[in-house]
């Protein structure tokens, strides 16, 4: 079985009396250690797709399997535990905790979710910060970092728990072109180093080129796979 299996999934949002079909009868699978992107115009369903795979939301119809688990059947607590152990997240606006330093931001999941010992945490955080080239910035707070640096820290935070799958919703949208490509290449090199599957969304053609598999969504339907 693939790492991610989406079976005939639909997601409909009810806003007042109006129904918005964010995803319609989508079926796809994503293999382990792949580097996949969802592309498409705004409102095509990219974020909804990532939310469903990331156990942040539940489908209206269909089944979502991640790491052989049917995650749409999970309750609130199970979803939180699953996200903490199997998934990593990278956000468009970086979403680093402003009161924590670079080191502490990366350490956060190990303290709050994994309960690792101090020595193990130190080893894991230092290793991943070294990999993203941010070890020399470890004592800086997020407001002392550039956009590209913040996203590198976010990548490190997503990877520190050694997740099987990292989801990134428009990770380069707030970055300049050069930083954007650098971050995507960093993610790709992390995939190579840690054998982690990366799924991200973008509508930046320059970033799309870096992906190995490109799924195109339009009006909630999967129209193309490249």
């Amino acid at each position: 079985m693939a790492l991610v299996q989406i079976d005939n999934v639909s997601k409909i949002y009810q806003t007042g009396e109006m129904q918005v079909k964010a995803l319609q009868d989508v079926t796809l699978s994503i293999d382990e250690a792949s580097f996949v992107t969802f592309v498409g115009p705004s409102g095509s369903g990219k974020t909804t797709m990532l939310n469903l795979i990331g156990c942040l939301d539940k489908p209206t119809k269909g089944k979502v399997f991640v790491d052989k688990k049917q995650v749409d059947a999970f309750d609130r607590g199970q979803r939180a535990a699953f996200r903490g152990s199997v998934l990593g997240f990278i956000f468009q606006a970086f979403n680093l905790f402003p009161v924590l330093t670079t080191y502490e931001n990366v350490e956060y999941p190990l303290v709050m979710i994994k309960n690792e010992s101090a020595s193990e945490r130190n080893e894991m955080v230092s290793k991943v910060l070294e990999s993203v080239g941010m070890l020399n910035q470890k004592d800086k707070f997020p407001d002392q970092l550039s956009g590209g640096q913040k996203q590198r820290v976010a990548v490190a935070r997503a990877l520190v728990t050694q997740p099987k799958l990292v989801l990134a919703d428009e990770p380069t949208a707030n970055l300049d072109k050069k930083s954007a490509v650098n971050v995507i290449r960093l993610m790709r090199s992390m995939r190579d180093e840690f054998r982690t599957t990366f799924i991200f969304s973008t509508h930046d053609p320059g970033v799309m080129e870096e992906a190995e598999v490109v799924h195109t969504l339009e009006d909630g339907r999967l129209v193309r796979k490249k």
């Binding site: 990331g54 939180a80 535990a81 903490g84 979403n95 905790f97 402003p98 009161v99 979710i113």
Partner: protein, 417 residues
């Protein structure tokens, strides 16, 4: 746990002004309570001490029905010799009773040979009285500057200062006391004025003193009788318990009609100051309620704002797998830290305030008592109680915002603008 509090403190410091203002408000509330408790509590304790140690004693035993008619100083409600011995035996056997003293209360006519006036007198056994009311002599003036070895000898009288001033009676002077006994016959005796006593608050605060043997002679008692037995207990804070014990012990003594022979009252039932003491207690509780309201509203407000301002951050925490309980714990730690910082500051400033009040001594008058010195103190247990209340209220005030944060759906929180 340390990490959670570290994060909580940093989050509090994100909004320095808001945290400072809230903390200041709680600190002031706590300071207010500490100073008020210190001042009012000390005033109450001092007044109770004055009243009980100077003339009222901790408790008094009378023949049944005496207290309800005490304004007329009835002489027919006396405790006879046998009754006295029974009561003395009961009191001696009670381990909580430190001392007891017999008294006769009487009204008499006092004359300086030119003018006559009414006087209420407290006839005492000086040796026993000083054990029950150790400060009895503090309000008395004698011919020398020091209190005589024997407070009062037979043939001597100590008269209230207002009366002495009115009749122009001086220490060492002679007066005549004329009194009716319980049969209505009149008797008179000469006395030497041994001292003058200042007035004190309460029904027995304006009484003169004479020797109990003189009172028995004046009232022509064939056998020694007493009106009341005043008693002092070893631990004042056990007053209620000892009173209950003595009430049940006294219930065994019946009169010829099979009804209770004696009654016992604590100082609270005998002095109007007990109502003032209750008012002080009510005011102290009111101050504490105000403080609780300040803490509750200010922390609730701060924490609600904190949650609303950090919705995306909460969404991030939740998205990366932080358990709802941990998110709740983070916010609870924040509220508790705010309460803890304010409590520490309030305690330090409060204790400093009490210390300063003790340096600049507060003197005041109360009723006819002048130049009373107030020494504010606050007990450690009171500080612990007030601090624990603030901390508990801090947690309680944070519960709702923290619960709200923990229940946020990450997908909604992350999309919050």
């Amino acid at each position: 746990m340390i990490r959670i509090f570290k994060i909580a403190l940093r989050n509090l410091m994100r909004y320095k002004r808001r945290t400072l203002l809230t903390s200041l408000l709680i600190t002031l509330g706590l300071l207010m309570v500490i100073l008020f408790s210190g001042l009012a509590g000390s005033f109450k304790e001092m007044m109770i001490g004055q009243i009980t140690d100077s003339n009222l004693a901790h408790m008094q035993i009378h023949k049944k029905g005496y207290v309800s008619s005490m304004d007329t100083s009835p002489l027919n409600l006396t405790i006879n010799q046998k009754g006295c011995k029974t009561l003395e035996k009961m009191l001696t056997e009670n381990p909580d009773v430190e001392a007891y003293a017999p008294r006769i209360k009487l009204s008499a006519m006092l004359s300086n040979f030119t003018e006559t006036t009414n006087v209420r007198l407290n006839a005492i056994d000086p040796d026993k009285e000083i054990k029950v009311c150790p400060d009895v002599s503090e309000r008395m003036k004698f011919s020398g500057s020091e209190v005589p070895d024997i407070l009062l000898r037979p043939g001597e009288i100590i008269i209230p200062e207002k009366l002495a001033a009115g009749l122009k009676i001086k220490i060492g002077g002679s007066v005549v006391l004329v009194a009716n006994n319980k049969d209505g016959s009149v008797n008179g005796l000469n006395f030497t004025v041994a001292g003058i006593i200042e007035s004190i608050l309460g029904p027995q605060g304006k009484e003169g003193y004479m020797h109990i043997k003189d009172a028995q002679s004046l009232l022509r008692m064939e056998k020694p009788e007493v009106i009341e037995i005043a008693l002092r207990i070893k631990k004042f804070d056990k007053l209620g318990d000892v009173y209950t014990d003595l009430v049940s012990a006294l219930a065994e003594f019946k009169n010829k009609k099979g009804k209770p022979a004696f009654e016992i009252h604590t100082w609270e039932k005998l002095s109007p100051f007990s109502n003032i003491a209750k008012m002080i207690d009510i005011m102290t509780v009111s101050m504490k309620i105000i403080m609780i309201a300040i803490v509750l509203i200010s922390i609730l407000n701060v924490m609600m704002m904190s949650v609303y301002e950090r919705v995306r951050e909460i969404g991030t925490m939740s998205a990366i797998g932080t358990a709802p309980g941990r998110i709740m714990g983070l916010f609870l730690a924040e509220g508790l830290s705010l309460g803890l910082i304010s409590t520490l500051a309030g305690n330090i400033i409060g204790i400093l305030g009490i210390y300063i009040l003790n340096i600049y001594k507060i003197r005041y008058s109360f009723g006819r008592m002048d130049n009373l010195l107030l020494s504010p103190t606050i007990s450690f247990s009171e500080l612990v109680w007030v601090s624990a209340t603030v901390l508990l209220v801090s947690i309680f005030a944070t519960l709702q915002p923290a619960y709200k944060a923990s229940r946020m759906e990450p997908v909604d929180a992350l999309g919050h603008v």
